[in-house]
């Protein structure tokens, strides 16, 4: 079905070393270093993430995984340029991120991220037209190609309110991918979908990756989704979010679900997230 397991290579044995120490790595697309994020409520100042560092290399599918309250969405919004770090910095291909921009296209969880006054095709064309990154005469064909990739050609002239939740998310993915961003940011894009649709969307996303090998940062709170969708998982601890581990999982896809090594990894991540009490209850795999 898909061939993303091929690229596992060095990742099949989890490395204890930091990535920086490995000599044969290409320059990183995204470099998050020592990022502390805070937000203010009416009465207090809350630290969402504390000195978080990780790198994203070309064609990686990095998943930010953690329970609610670990600041993973806040972190993604900071990478998108919506929230400024109070400490540390975020570099995109060596340039500091200071504001939102179309080279970091974001797909949101909410279905209302499509512009309701535009058809599917116009929605996909909109960022291309506004950013001026592509020649005008190519935009329409690029949009149609992107719509075709997410299997929505039949609905290209439909308005968003006539589409199902899964279709809306596909349009949002097509819209983001058509821009060919340096990195695709996905903020729990499948979390509002029913379980069957979510499963289908995950494998469609992997098939799209097989075709274009885009670089992606994907936020989720589902261990299973992280293992299937990601090539590398950044496990975050809650209150405030700190990096607990970075784990390679490129060898897993839907076919490996339920297999022994899949379950072992699932348990390992579970223990990282929930600590000793969980490992006592459910058998230690480490």
């Amino acid at each position: 079905m898909s061939n993303h397991a091929i690229k596992a290579g060095a990742g099949s044995v989890p490395s204890r070393q930091s990535d920086r120490a490995q000599p044969d790595l290409p320059p990183s697309v995204l470099d998050v270093s020592g990022v502390t994020l805070q937000y203010e409520t009416e009465t207090s100042r809350v630290t969402a993430t504390y000195r978080v560092s990780f790198q994203v290399y070309p064609s990686e599918r990095v998943v930010l995984l953690g329970p609610s309250g670990c600041g993973k969405s806040t972190l993604l919004k900071s990478i998108a340029g919506f929230i400024e770090p109070v400490e540390g910095q975020i570099l995109l291909k060596g340039r500091a991120v200071t504001q939102p921009g179309p080279e970091r296209m974001m797909v949101f969880q909410e279905f209302d991220q499509l512009l309701p006054w535009k058809t599917v095709r116009e929605n996909v064309k909109f960022p291309m037209l506004r950013s001026g990154r592509f020649p005008r005469n190519e935009i329409d064909s690029r949009a149609l190609a992107a719509i075709d990739k997410v299997n929505l050609t039949k609905f290209r002239d439909a308005f968003p309110h006539t589409l199902s939740g899964g279709m809306k998310q596909r349009v949002a993915i097509a819209r983001a991918m058509a821009m060919e961003p340096e990195v695709l940011l996905m903020d729990e894009p499948f979390a509002s979908l029913d379980a069957l649709t979510r499963r289908k969307m995950q494998s469609e996303l992997l098939e799209l990756w097989d075709e274009t090998r885009f670089t992606m940062v994907f936020v989720t709170h589902s261990i299973e989704e992280a293992i299937i969708v990601g090539s590398r998982i950044v496990v975050l601890s809650p209150h405030p979010g700190r990096v607990r581990a970075e784990i390679n999982c490129n060898q897993f896809d839907y076919a490996s679900q339920g297999g022994e090594s899949f379950l072992a990894l699932h348990q390992r991540i579970h223990n990282l997230l929930f600590g000793d009490e969980a490992s006592k209850a459910g058998g230690n795999h480490e």
């Binding site: 919004k77 998108a80 919506f82 939102p100 921009g101 179309p102 970091r104 296209m105 974001m106 949101f108 909410e110 209302d112 991220q113 512009l115 309701p116 006054w117 909109f126 960022p127 506004r130 950013s131 308005f159 968003p160 309110h161 006539t162």
Partner: protein
């Protein structure tokens, strides 16, 4: 797990091969009668006919054409005053004043709202202004307008603009403030800023509220205009439709008074149902932003 043991029944499993898959959508037979009854225009027309018959019966029963002329007398007066040119010229004058004032009002409201959403203090300024002026009936400003601008187009425009601006600003500002955080982030994600962001994201996203504001502004301005004309009477440019009603009352031409009121109603309904309904159908309803 004793659940399996607790279950006393033992039933065989089954799998079915699914055939005949094209029965999902079937055409419905709709009878001619229910088609007519389901037609809104038809039902409204029935109500209108009933009202007209009631009017005619009341006039016949009262038998006092000076106080309550029959519908047929009113229509005759309507046709007469249309043919002799008085009514059309009155309506035209009212419409000219209205179009100028309404356009000014919409532009002022747009400028105020854009100022409000682009600065933090702007929202406070506009909210306070609308809180002050919105409850004030615009006809109440007529004496002041006469004092400042005399009797003429300027006074009239001042009163009508005032009736449009506050209600429209209030509605539009509400629309801007309720644009979802997701849509805002989507717009910013594409690198849109300043006026480009307002034009391409905020205005379309707030369009249902903007349209409501324009509709309310229209209704308010039409009311304010007719009311002001009744007070101002004829200006140096001649009188409008309100003046038509007023002068015919003075000469006890009651059917013409009714004819004037009928025209006021008809114009209001036509603009509302033709112009605004058409805009709604082509925009917010088509986009699914309003039912």
């Amino acid at each position: 797990m004793n659940r399996a043991a607790a279950m006393q029944l033992s039933r065989p499993e089954v799998e079915y091969a699914l055939t005949d898959t094209d029965m999902g959508v079937a055409p419905r037979d709709i009878s001619a009668l229910s088609k007519i009854v389901n037609n809104t225009a038809f039902r409204r027309a029935v109500v209108l006919v009933v009202i007209a018959l009631g009017w005619e019966a009341t006039a016949w029963w009262m038998n006092n054409p000076l106080l309550f002329p029959s519908l047929s007398d009113t229509f005759r007066a309507l046709i007469d005053s249309t043919l002799d040119g008085t009514l059309p010229s009155r309506v035209r004058l009212s419409f000219e004043t209205l179009l100028i004032s309404y356009t000014c009002g919409v532009l002022v409201a747009a400028a105020l709202t854009i100022f409000a959403v682009s600065t933090r203090v702007g929202v406070d300024v506009l909210s306070t202004l609308t809180a002050i002026f919105n409850p004030l009936p615009s006809v109440a400003l007529v004496p002041l307008a006469m004092l400042w601008f005399g009797v003429g187009l300027t006074s009239m425009t001042f009163v009508v603009v005032n009736s449009v601006v506050w209600v429209m600003s209030l509605s539009t500002l509400g629309g801007f403030l309720t644009v979802s955080e997701t849509l805002r982030m989507v717009g910013q994600n594409y690198g849109l800023k300043g006026m480009r962001y307002v034009w391409h994201v905020l205005i379309p996203a707030a369009f249902p509220s903007i349209l409501t504001g324009m509709k309310l502004g229209w209704a308010y301005s039409w009311r304010a205009l007719v009311g002001a004309e009744l007070v101002f009477g004829a200006t140096n440019r001649g009188g409008g439709i309100g003046w038509f009603v007023f002068e015919n009352r003075m000469s006890l031409e009651t059917p013409r008074v009714f004819a004037g009121l009928l025209v006021v109603i008809i114009i209001g309904v036509v603009v509302e149902s033709l112009i605004f309904r058409t805009i709604e159908n082509r925009t917010v309803r088509r986009w699914g932003m309003q039912r």
